[in-house]
Structures are given as C-alpha cells and as structure tokens.
C-alpha cells in the first residue's frame, strides 16, 4: 500500500491521465450500450467501421489542435483556423477548375474528372496560402503587438469573405479523383489522413521536444517579458507558432475539402476554431499558456470525435448534437476544476488535503 500510493498519485498527476480517462469512459459507454461500435470489417481491401471513422474524421481536427496547442502554449489563441481551412479548400477547388465562376460553362466541363493545375502545385499553393495567413496573424501579434484574440478575429471575420471571394461565392464541387486521395484514400488499410497527421505530429514533436524551441514556447507563455530579457526573441517564437498553426490549418483544409468533395466558403471548417480550442483544453493545456502536451491535444481531438460518432450511432440528429457537446464541455470543466480535483484526490489518498495539490 505504501508503494502503491505514490505510483497512483504519479499516474493521476500525469497530464495524459485525465484525457485518457475521458476517452476510456466514452469507449466503455459504447461497449455497454452500442456493442456494434467496435466492429471493424474489411471492405475493398481496407478497414472500415466506427473506429476507423473516428480516426478519419478527427484527422483535420487533430492537425488544427497540434498547431493550436503551440499557439495557446505561448498564451495566445488563434480564432482564424476555421477561416484558413476555408481559404485553403477554396484555393484547391479554384486551381482544379479556374473556369468556374467567370464564364458560363456547360455541365460536362464542370463535372470532368480533370484538373487545370498539377496536383503537386495545388497542394503547394494550398499550404502556401494557409502559411501566409498564419504569417499574417503572427506579424500582427508579434510585430503589431495586438492581442491575439483581436488579431486573429480580423482574419476570422474577413477570412470566410476571402474564401468566398476566391470561389466567387459559389459552392464548388470537386470532381478530380486524385484529389480525393487525401480525405478518402487508404494506405495499408488505414486512412491516408492519419498518416498525414502522424507525419505532422512527428515533425512538431521533434521540433518542440528534441530542440529548445519547445522550451522557448513554454517560457514565452509563462512570462513573455522575462523571456525577452533572457535573450530569446519572443517575437520570432510567436511569429513561428502562428505560422505553424496556419500551416496545420491549411493541411486540414486540404483533407476536409478532399473528404467532402467540395469547397464552400461558409461551411468548410465551420466551428473548427472552437473545436480545436476545446481539444487543447481537454488535453489539459491551460489557456493562459505555459506547459503543453501535443499528444494530449491529439487525444482531446479524438475524444470530441469519438463522442460525436457515438451520438451518431445512437441516431441523434447532427444539429441537436450541439447540446450533447455542451454536456461534454461541462463535464470537462467540472473534471478539470480545482474543486473536483481536490475532491477526487482526497477520496483516493484519504490524506490529500495536506498535500495541497496545485494542478
């Protein structure tokens, strides 16, 4: 018992503990009430089933959450990711079929399985557009010294307008098959999008854990002024995280537009900024900045989508699902509040009050 308690405590204080508990709770709920949830079959040489759906659907959110984690770790927030997703999706659709919008064209040109721009260029331009948006946010925050919430609010409001401007206000349907690969393709039975997430995650992880950049980001979040005085360019750190967040959102836009086969300035990535912030908060990163965990944010994104797909399997209409999501947020809030933690610690330790846990 004596050896056991510290271990329990260590597990409990690990930042991955609470997100994993939440995920496990949802999965246990599924196991009891919807046993079919875990069924995985093989169709056309790839896996399918609810779990695969969760992975494929949550991929864009995971990407955005990775970028958002770094931004929030510096004490900022990026509200524009949803708009950046729309811009990136619009860019892709326009490059595939630039004729649309300007001229009256016949239906068979419109629905042709062809592209006017090579695929590699489309991907490159998509990513460049998103990165540029991120750079703009970063410049406003780091050089313009505007509060992050306002600075990114500008692009959030204007960005969807820009996306509509690009597609000339139309919802563009994409008929070019190779483009669908990002959102609907499979490698070794698993969705392509998951591999993309893995690559980006690995890149970000190596960047923040194997180089000193991660430490710099945390120190900017804890105290930007002190960071500046200790000789670290807090401006460039901020510039970097916002740019990276824009880059992640651009990839998410690519995957999303490829998944739904269309680009719609109003609805691509709708509410993604809110979901991404939610994922990061579920992952235990504080909105005030400082310590962060990329993996916990990815788990957070998984929790959101596992919950969503679970609700779908119960036949809850997509719109009413919002109320369910509110309950999810409430549970997270309660679980993370100091009161709840102290209470739980006291139950488990029986002597918790003198420990004075701080998290």
């Amino acid at each position: 018992m004596k050896n056991n308690a510290p271990l329990l405590k260590r597990i409990r204080e690990n930042r991955l503990f609470w997100p994993l508990v939440a995920l496990a709770l949802i999965l246990i709920f599924d196991a009891i009430f919807a046993p079919g949830f875990f069924k995985i079959g093989i169709l056309d040489g790839h896996l399918f089933g609810n779990l695969i759906d969760v992975l494929n659907n949550s991929a864009p959110l995971m990407l955005v959450a990775i970028g958002m984690t770094l931004v929030i770790a510096t004490g900022g927030v990026d509200l524009s990711v949803g708009a950046v997703i729309a811009i990136s999706a619009a860019m892709g659709a326009v490059l595939i079929n630039p004729a649309l919008g300007n001229k009256l064209i016949t239906n068979d040109i419109l629905t042709k399985d062809a592209t006017n721009t090579p695929l590699w260029l489309i991907v490159l331009v998509d990513l460049a557009a998103g990165t540029l948006c991120g750079l703009w946010n970063g410049l406003l925050v780091s050089r313009g010294k505007i509060q992050p919430m306002v600075a990114t609010l500008i692009l959030m409001v204007a960005g969807r307008g820009i996306a509509q401007l690009i597609t000339n206000g139309q919802i563009m349907t994409i008929y070019y098959t190779p483009y669908f690969y990002f959102g609907n393709g499979f490698i070794l039975g698993l969705p392509v999008s998951i591999y993309i997430v893995a690559v980006v995650f690995l890149f970000a992880w190596v960047l923040v854990r194997k180089t000193s950049i991660g430490l710099f980001i945390e120190s900017v979040g804890v105290n930007a002024k002190a960071t500046y005085y200790s000789g670290i360019s807090e401006k460039n750190i901020k510039l970097f995280v916002y740019t990276f967040c824009g880059f992640c959102a651009a990839i998410a836009g690519l995957i999303l537009s490829s998944y739904v086969h269309s680009a719609d300035g109003n609805n691509n990535g709708l509410n993604y900024e809110l979901d991404a912030i939610l994922a990061v908060v579920i992952g235990g990163t504080l909105m005030t900045g400082g310590r962060f965990s990329l993996f916990a944010s990815v788990i957070g994104a998984l929790i959101i989508w596992t919950f969503t797909i679970t609700m779908y399997t119960f036949g809850v209409p997509a719109n009413a699902l919002l109320a369910g999501r509110a309950v999810l947020v409430l549970v997270v809030i309660l679980l993370y509040s100091d009161y709840a933690r102290r209470f739980l610690n006291r139950i488990v330790d029986r002597k918790g009050s003198q420990h004075g846990t701080t998290n």
């Binding site: 509060q147 600075a151 409001v157 509509q164 206000g169 939610l278 719109n319 809030i333």
Partner: protein, 326 residues
C-alpha cells in the same frame, strides 16, 4: 486650454475616432449613392441592427471586465425557437416574453456562476453556452417555425413616425436598443456597479483587495448579457416572425467586432458603451452600402468589417501609446 483640449482628445480619442469613422463611412456612402442621403436610410440602420445593438450592449460590459460571451447568438436562436414553439401551442405573449427574459437571466447567471466559482476561462464556459443554446433550439424544432400571434404581428408591423422627418419611421422593437443604451449609460457611469466593472477589468486583484464585490459583479455582468441576448432574441423573433435554431449565425463575432470598433479593449478596463452604438451603426452602414451597390456580393461585408477592425485597432494602439507617454 490647449492642454485641456489635448487631454480631452487623448481621453476620448477612441470614441471620437469611432464617431468620425461612422460619419466618414456614411458620408462616402451618401456621395456614392444619393439615395442613401434620405433620412429613412439612417433610421433603417436602427431597424436592421436592433438585435445586434442589444447584444453588443450586453457584450460591452462583459468585455470591459476582461471576459467574453460567445453564447449570445445561440441564445437569440434559442429564444426565437422557444417563443415560436410556445406561441404555436397557444401560450399568450404576456407569458412568453417574461418567460424568455427569465430564461436568459437564468442562463447568464449559470454561466457567470461557473466562470466565477469554478474559475474556468469565460471563453470555454460561454462556448459551452453557445453549443447548449443552439442544440436546445434544434431539439425544440428542426425547421423554422412561423409565428402567427397577433400581438407579435402588431409589434412587428406598427410604424412609429419620427418627429421632424417626413415619412421617416422605425418599428417598435428598434426602440428597445436605444432605450436600453440610456439605462446602460446610467449604469456604467453613475453607479457603483459601473465603476466596479471598470475596476475589475483594469485589475481584478486590486479590485478584490479594495474590497469590491468582484464575484457578485462578474456574475451580474454575465446575467445581464444573458438578459440582453434573450431580449435580442425576442426582438429578432418579432422582426422575423419566426423561430429557428440556425438564426443569427456568427452574430457573437459581429457583436465582438462592433464592441472593438467602438473602442472597447479586449484586455478589459477600457471602453465606452456609447462607442458600441457607433460600432454597431458602422457595421449596419457597411451592409447598407453593399445593398445600395447591389453588384458587390455579401462577402465584402465580412472583408470590410475585418479591415475596419484592423484599421481601428491600429488607431487605438496609437492613442494608448500616446497616452502612456504623456
């Protein structure tokens, strides 16, 4: 004297800038489209932005305390859907309207309590409120419900002539915003509550050490915002005569943008509810210029509001830098 003028300009700079920008935007619109010079077009601004004005007034207080309220648009949708459903089932408006206001108050109070007692970011809590309100509205009705109630129709269609302007009129609901504004001006500048709100925004720690009722004031502010959004929801359902969960998409952003354009800082402690009025009017003016043009598409509104926010923030930061130096 010169010193005094300078001080006055520095203190009220953001507000004066907002008013100047509004006059400038309106003037440009008038020059481009002579039809915009009609007085009715000006009063149309109040008709079109009735809900936005009410919501933004509530939001101003919240933002001055360094908080944010994302739930307002959801609350508008929920109020409209709930009142449409109640009226369709034969409830009388005399009961529905107080009930909706009570719902808004309870909703805001709950959010305020969670924010204060559980110490969670307002952003997250009100985000939950947004999800909850919209979801509930969709649970009530999945499609738009018409309102056939006679009282609502009467309120929606009665024109109030404006004195001194021939043929100019507003509707009854568009008067609620300006009236509320007067109340809020009194509250924010002439009461203890108003001063406490500013003190909290400037430095919550100091406000608490000074013995001000920080917790109570914060909860009241969110309750008031909930009340305002329910009121805006009633105005919305009166002017559209229907209720639906998808109404007012993204209006929380319009409200925040209007408040910011009105000179209130999102960092809290600085702001003026009069500026919010002009922020909302600027928003309305841009929309009507686009309508008068006719060929410009709706997305230019978003781009325009975004650009204006940017310009205004630039001017604002200039003012505060000056103020710090002087």
């Amino acid at each position: 004297m010169a010193q005094r003028i300078k001080l006055f300009l520095l203190n009220n700079g953001p507000l004066l800038t907002t008013i100047t920008i509004f006059i400038l935007v309106y003037f440009v619109g008038g020059r481009l489209y002579p039809a915009m010079q009609k007085p009715q077009v000006f009063f149309n601004l109040f008709i079109n932005t009735a809900s936005l004005l009410i919501v933004s007034i509530g939001m101003t207080f919240v933002i001055i305390t360094k908080g944010i309220d994302l739930s307002v648009a959801g609350m508008i949708a929920l109020t409209s859907a709930a009142s449409a459903a109640l009226l369709a089932n034969g409830a009388s408006p005399a009961m529905v309207i107080p009930l909706m206001l009570l719902m808004g108050v309870v909703f805001g109070f709950t959010l305020g309590c969670i924010i204060h007692f559980l110490k969670v970011e307002p952003f997250i809590v009100t985000l939950m409120g947004l999800f909850f309100a919209r979801g509930m509205a969709y649970i009530i009705t999945l499609e738009a419900l018409p309102i056939q109630d006679l009282t609502y129709r009467f309120l929606a269609l009665t024109k109030i002539p404006i004195p001194f302007f021939a043929k100019a009129y507003v509707y009854i609901p568009s008067l609620i915003g300006p009236l509320l504004l007067l109340v809020v001006i009194y509250l924010s500048f002439f009461t203890r509550f108003g001063r406490t709100v500013y003190a909290i925004g400037n430095n919550e720690q100091s406000a608490r050490l000074m013995g001000l009722a920080v917790g109570r004031t914060k909860i009241i502010v969110y309750t008031f915002s909930g009340f305002c959004s329910a009121l805006a929801g009633i105005v919305w359902s009166i002017s559209l005569l229907s209720g639906y969960g998808g109404y007012a998409p993204g209006m929380e952003l319009d409200a925040i943008a209007s408040v910011v354009i009105g000179g209130t800082l999102l960092t809290g402690g600085v702001g003026n509810v009069v500026g919010t009025l002009f922020g909302v009017l600027i928003n309305g003016t841009i929309v009507s210029i686009l309508q008068f043009n006719g060929t410009l598409s709706s997305w230019w509104t978003r781009i325009g509001v975004g650009l204006l926010t940017l310009i205004f923030i630039g001017i604002q930061s200039l003012f505060y830098m000056r103020k710090k130096h002087s």
